[in-house]
Amino acid sequence: MPSYLFWLFSTVMLVGGVAVIALRNPVSSALAVVTCFIGLAGLFVGLSAFFVGVIQILVYTGAVMVLFIFIIMLLDLKAGAKHAKPVVPIVAALTLAIAFIAQLAGVLSHTPDTAAPALDTAALAQASGEWVDAGTIAATGKIATALNAGSLPDVHLIGRALFTDYNLPLQIIGVLLLVATVGAVTLSKKTQE
């Protein structure tokens, strides 16, 4: 990704993040989170993680934040402007954030910096040698074909990993989603008097 796009998406993400905690109205905060996640999805796409970028938009921006806004409007919250801001939480939050950033900057200044390894046509074609006769899974052939054509088949790569190496975690995640759905329905049912 060109440098200016990285800084553009980072700025969108960080400004959205600051707006989440700076704005008083919860609906404004939710829309700021949406802005932040759109910038984040841009960064994912710039890192050649196209699948992750798309599910970031679909799941977070499309489903999760809509659920948040739905709940905010269902509960009909007032904007919390009447309460005076106590000083102690502000000082504590700033201290925590600055201490964290200082620690991170200290670590990063001693870490050797690496540039992104090349993902051009030649590198992809060279990587396709791993996939030519690597077993009986149908996606393997598609991965090799796409790599030789010079495109990165990251959906096929993630799908192959999900259904081979991570098959058991995938099924456990399915059960977890079922449990979460049942739990949400049970919790939001009115209790019988």
Partner: protein, 105 residues
Amino acid sequence: MATLNNYLLVSGLLFAIGLAGVVLRRNIIVIFMCLELMLSAANLTLVAFSRFHPSHGLPDSNGQVLVFFVITVAAAEVAVGLAIIVALFRARQTLRSDELNSMKG
């Protein structure tokens, strides 16, 4: 080209914003959104490492599978958490965390 340290710094800034929000804000829904910000900052770190430390010349798909799992668990967490918030609002008619102090000693 942005380097690995650029991505780690931006991700750390997003995490710090989320952390500050959790400490600073009093509205439980906004605190919950700040938790999502921190999860997403961790996701950015994972994807950056998967891109900058390739396996066999391609971005490491193990890291992106972990991001997939994190997003799925976060979605389940939001569903249950918002149901709890609705139940809490029904019981107490408030969402401010400093007014929910009935267990305070």
